[in-house]
């Protein structure tokens, strides 16, 4: 289609708009606000859209990119304030509780009991999805955050024979990579990326209990203690393995550096896999994923979910409610869970799916999840807004990202700064 005909189509479509809106009312429409806009993610959402449309409902896509969902949240809040919320929105973790407390979310008891959600989901997952004992959101995936991504080719060139399993080995590998002329650790200097590294170091140095005390209980002694000084000292050392020009760089640009063999490793959640897949690389062969050194056995999770809103009076028609329920139902069905999670790099939230269709990293992730679930070593990721309120998370981000960009920052003081910033934010 050339530009002129496309223009003509756009104009004629625009003039038809009122009619199509009328027609949609009869069928039931579901509007979804989300920020799954990058390649693999957009493809994954398209699957949900197609399935919903196959059931005869209209899908209205409101994608808002930017700032890791910050722009989308702004849109969501102003729309909620104006009494015109969408049918569904990408909201996660503790935020669900806040939206629930405002009485804005609808409950999904009917869909969840009909489809046995309580059985299909791990208790950790289902608890996160409930407000006041009722399901208010449907989970779509489980990401693991404590991964280290390695380019074995680069490792070989630098003379490193195995993936690091302790921080000491990690430093040793970094030194060798640097000596061989590579960027040891690819990284983008954005607050959430800095904090991803930080939380991995906390888990590695302070262990699962220390992690819980620091980020869930926000225990002051833990936040200002000796161990925390150790974490910040390590953070400084790890920062030394990153390149100088990292400020503001997107995570997938950093991932590309590892893929292209310019850098040796990256600390990132498993969405990084979509970049490797897009570059036609095979897990276990062209690249390696290992738990971040010192965090073996633990699993920091980041779960995306779609929260369902109470519809405004204007939109509250049986058709629209049916459409909303349909989204909730489809989101958990195997067909969607397979395709969506293969595209996103995550694992399905249902525990009854055959993982053989997934690659080596996906299978390892599912196995580790089940194990960590049994041993109570599932940790909510602080950097991805699963552990704390946004206010507390923001306070931690400020301290961490400032620490990492300031060459003269003092590890001994950072813990105290963080503790007082958290106190001010609560």
């Amino acid at each position: 289609m050339n530009a002129i005909t496309r223009l003509a189509t756009v104009i004629s479509l625009a003039s038809l708009f009122p009619f199509s809106a009328l027609a949609a009312d009869a069928k039931g429409t579901v509007e979804v606000v989300h920020w799954w806009t990058s390649g693999g993610e957009a493809k994954a959402v398209k699957v949900l859209e197609n399935l919903v449309e196959k059931d005869g409902y209209e899908w209205k896509d409101s994608a808002v990119a930017g700032g890791g969902g910050a722009a989308a949240m702004t849109v969501l809040k102003t729309r909620a304030v104006s009494g015109n919320p969408p049918s569904a929105a990408q909201i996660k973790g503790p935020d669900l509780q806040e939206w629930g407390a405002l009485g804005l979310l609808t409950n999904l008891d009917e869909v969840s009991s009909q489809n046995n959600w309580d059985k299909l989901l791990s208790k950790t997952v289902s608890d996160t999805m409930k407000y006041d004992g009722h399901y208010v959101a449907v989970p779509v995936n489980i990401h693991r955050v404590n991964w280290l991504w390695i380019n074995p080719e680069v490792f070989k060139k630098a003379g490193i024979d195995k993936a690091p399993t302790t921080l000491e080995e990690f430093y040793a590998a970094g030194d060798k990579l640097r000596a061989a002329g590579f960027i040891p650790l690819a990284h983008g200097g954005q607050p959430w990326q800095d904090s991803t590294v930080f939380e991995n170091l906390v888990l590695s140095i302070m262990g699962a209990d220390g992690y819980k005390k620091a980020f869930i209980d926000l225990d002051e002694k833990t936040l200002t203690g000796e161990k925390m000084v150790e974490v910040f000292t390590a953070l400084k050392k790890v920062g030394g393995y990153m390149d100088e020009n990292r400020a503001g760089r997107d995570w997938n640009i950093a991932a590309a550096e590892v893929i292209n063999g310019k850098a040796g490793m990256q600390i990132m959640g498993d969405w990084a896999k979509s970049e490797w897949t897009a570059a036609d690389k095979v897990a276990g062969k062209d690249y390696q994923c290992v738990p971040f050194p010192g965090t073996q056995g633990s699993y920091t999770y980041n779960i995306d979910s779609l929260a369902m809103f109470k519809l405004s009076a204007k939109n509250n028609t049986p058709g629209n409610i049916a459409a909303q329920n349909d989204v909730a139902k489809i989101a958990l069905e195997p067909e969607f869970q397979y395709v969506f999670n293969q595209n996103k790099g995550s694992i399905p939230v249902r525990n009854d799916l055959d993982m053989s269709k997934f690659d080596a990293c996906g299978q390892a992730s599912a196995k580790d999840f089940a194990e960590a679930d049994k041993n109570a070593k599932l940790e909510p990721s602080m950097a991805h807004n699963m552990a704390t309120s946004l206010a507390v998370q923001g306070a931690i981000f400020d301290v961490v990202t400032n620490f990492m960009s300031d060459k003269n920052a003092d590890p001994a003081k950072a813990g105290k700064q963080m503790s007082s910033a958290i106190k001010a934010a609560r």
Binding site: G40, A65, G66, K77, R79, S82, N84, N252
Partner: protein, 281 residues
């Protein structure tokens, strides 16, 4: 005052002046040139060449991809900008007319209050405004955005017209009033014909402001009704695999083109308007 300086001779100082002016022009042009060059390069070319290197092959794929993603929203921007500019300019003209020619008790105070609006950080009013727009049932429509732009554009349009009309002698209007001419007659017969320069300034200013708006666009019209700036941001801030700078730059050019053309072709009216009074305190 330039006419009074005698005939320019080709002296050393004149060479220096030209050199400085041309150097400055080059500096101002560089970002645009870089954007254009980058938009026509292939991704490999961008990585291997430098900012000002000529594209190895002129590659239109960036523009095609960019138009595919943001093209549809271009028309949203048109649908928002045109009515909003016309309405806010019209209201501004009427306000300016009253505030300069028909002052009454409190009109100065009102003007002061309005002037302050020029400096209002819009974030302050975002939540209440969205509440209002939602109550009016205009959330996520281009109509809602038109309304918001008219309201928050009023301060500047009124300022333009008021300052322009203030410099017109009162006597003209007083005489017309004595002749029995009414409020609208005076405006239509006397002031409007004199207002072409300031109307141009106002139209150009408002067009630029509204076309380029991002904050209102993202908050009041996400999804189908979003303007092109929001679509551009969605594109630039989302990277799929290798970052396609050529697509980013082409999309930025598409978003910037209408205002750019307005400045290039109507810029002299803008300047003429400024000369004829808009800049007088």
């Amino acid at each position: 005052m330039s006419n009074q300086l005698g005939k320019p001779a080709l002296s050393l100082s004149r060479v220096a002046i030209y050199a400085t002016l041309l150097l400055a022009a080059a500096v101002y042009l560089i970002p645009l040139v870089v954007m254009l060059l980058t938009s026509f390069k292939s991704p490999e070319d961008i990585r291997t060449g430098n900012l000002l290197s000529w594209p190895q092959v002129i590659d239109g794929i960036g523009w095609i991809k960019a138009w595919d993603t943001v093209g549809g929203y271009f028309w949203n921007s048109v649908k928002i900008t045109v009515p909003a500019v016309l309405i806010s300019t019209f209201i501004g003209a009427m306000n300016g007319y009253v505030l300069s020619m028909w002052r009454f008790r409190g009109s100065q105070l009102f003007f002061g209050l309005l002037l302050f609006g020029c400096f209002l950080p819009f974030q302050t009013v975002l939540l209440p405004a969205s509440f209002t727009v939602g109550k009016l049932g205009l959330a996520n429509t281009t109509t809602g955005l038109v309304l918001v732009h008219v309201v928050y554009g009023l301060a500047f349009t009124t300022l333009f017209f008021r300052n322009y009309y203030v410099s017109i002698p009162d006597a003209l209007v007083k005489a017309a009033r004595l002749d029995g001419a009414g409020f609208f007659t005076i405006f239509g017969r006397i002031l409007l014909p004199m207002s072409v320069p300031i109307i141009m300034v106002c139209l150009i200013w408002q067009f630029t402001q509204i076309w380029n708006d991002f904050l209102f666009g993202v908050v009041f019209a996400s999804g189908d009704a979003q303007p092109i700036t929001v679509a551009l941001n969605n594109l630039v801030n989302t990277s799929t695999g290798a970052k396609e700078y050529n697509v980013d730059m082409a999309a930025a050019m598409i978003a910037g083109l209408p205002t750019l053309l307005v400045y290039i072709f109507a810029g002299k009216y803008f300047l003429r308007g400024l000369t004829s009074g808009a800049v007088k305190g």
